[in-house]
């Protein structure tokens, strides 16, 4: 049985709404803060600072070897670029114990993932947030409240077939000050390879 432990060190004043083991953060929950090293240069990146500097922060759990996560490389890069100019920061988190930082950095460079991807040693953030697979999106407001959780869209195979661009819809709703139409969505993905 897989048991997830929530580290107290991740509370950082955002302890309210911490998920029970096995449950992902749902819309409305306050995400525990984190400070994680960037895969490329190891420099620490704090969620608190991202939240303070943006209208919204999208955290996407990603992988280098997951075919589903890779199917969305282009879409993630495009969204990150497009919404950076609108006050949204997109940051990836790689929690896979099987994918070292250097590999994550190389993969990002090779696939044009021009947004920060952080390593999550010991999958502590994945545990605290209840993230289970890749790709998996958590979209936060400046207070760290989850406004959207789930998939990028419903069409893993082909971006041209997308009819339900749920992540984009959530971003647009938030920027327009409107409720997110579908705050929770699901899709198939690769389980996070926990330590």
């Amino acid at each position: 049985m897989r048991i997830r432990l929530v580290s107290a060190s991740l509370a950082l004043g955002l302890a309210l709404g911490a998920p029970a083991a096995g449950d992902a953060l749902k819309a409305g929950a306050v995400a525990p803060g984190f400070t994680l090293p960037a895969a490329g240069d190891g420099k620490p990146v704090a969620l608190k600072e991202l939240l303070a500097a943006n209208k919204a922060v999208a955290v996407i759990f990603v992988a280098t070897k997951c075919p589903v996560s890779n199917a969305y490389n282009g879409r993630m890069a495009a969204i990150a670029k497009e919404y950076a100019g609108k006050g949204v920061a997109v940051v990836g988190i790689n929690s896979n114990a099987t994918e070292p930082a250097a590999e994550v950095a190389d993969h990002a460079k090779k696939h044009g993932l021009d947004f920060q991807i952080l390593k999550d040693p010991g999958n502590k953030v994945a545990d605290a947030w209840g993230a289970t697979k890749t790709p998996e999106v958590f979209l936060l407001d400046p207070k760290g409240v989850v406004l959207y959780h789930g998939r990028i869209d419903e069409s893993q195979d082909d971006p041209k077939d997308v009819r339900s661009p749920d992540f984009r819809n959530a971003l647009d709703a938030i920027l327009a000050g409107k409720p997110v139409p579908k705050a929770e969505t699901k899709a198939f993905g690769c389980t996070i390879k926990r330590a």
């Binding site: 897989r2 992902a24 070897k65 075919p67 589903v68 289970t132 697979k133 998996e136 998939r151 419903e154 893993q156 195979d157 082909d158 009819r163 339900s164 969505t185 699901k186 899709a187 198939f188 993905g189 690769c190 389980t191 996070i192």
Partner: protein, 173 residues
């Protein structure tokens, strides 16, 4: 007399085929059948009531799914088919679904395999288990009444599959 002669003749014709089949390698998996979200309970689960049922959700692109398949095959061998049924459900999209029969054949997987048919994966995921987030591999164990009694997330071992089946059967015999 005439019937006996006909029977003997038929036996002579069939004998070589029977001999060939008995010497052939183990049969490949049965052809994959489609299942829509609204059909999952009626087509996959309901027909197996009366037996403990293990349903394994997987995809050809999912490494841990492929890695655990031999363990599932081994675990299933430890239970009589009158007590335990094992069924696979592939979540491959049309892009990779054609690889399913070949994969099952190469691994000599003896279980029936369904192919999830749902343009949007969410209705399928919810039809199976609303608490499931779609991460693969995923295994459900149903009791003889068709109620879920175990949920196994992530790659399993022969031991963990066997343990779940044993518990569903009511403990060690």
């Amino acid at each position: 007399m005439h019937d006996q002669a006909r029977l003997k003749g038929a036996a002579r014709l069939l004998a070589p085929a029977v001999l060939a089949l008995s010497l052939a390698p183990a049969a490949a998996a049965e052809p994959v059948k489609l299942v829509k979200p609204e059909q999952y309970r009626s087509r996959v689960v309901a027909p197996k009531k009366g037996r403990v049922l293990l349903v394994n959700f997987w995809a050809t692109w999912c490494d841990p799914c492929r890695e655990e398949m031999p363990a599932l095959v081994s675990a299933a061998k430890g239970f009589p088919s009158r007590d335990v049924a094992v069924v696979l459900v592939s979540t491959d999209t049309p892009k990779t679904a054609s690889a399913v029969p070949r994969f099952l054949s190469q691994l000599r997987v003896p279980f029936v395999c369904w192919q999830a048919k749902s343009r949007d994966p969410q209705p399928f995921i919810d039809s199976v288990d609303r608490s499931w987030d779609g991460s693969l591999p995923y295994t459900l164990v149903y009791d003889r009444k068709g109620e879920i009694v175990a949920k196994l997330a992530g790659r399993q071992t022969e031991a963990s599959f066997s343990e779940a089946l044993t518990k569903a059967l009511g403990g060690p015999r």
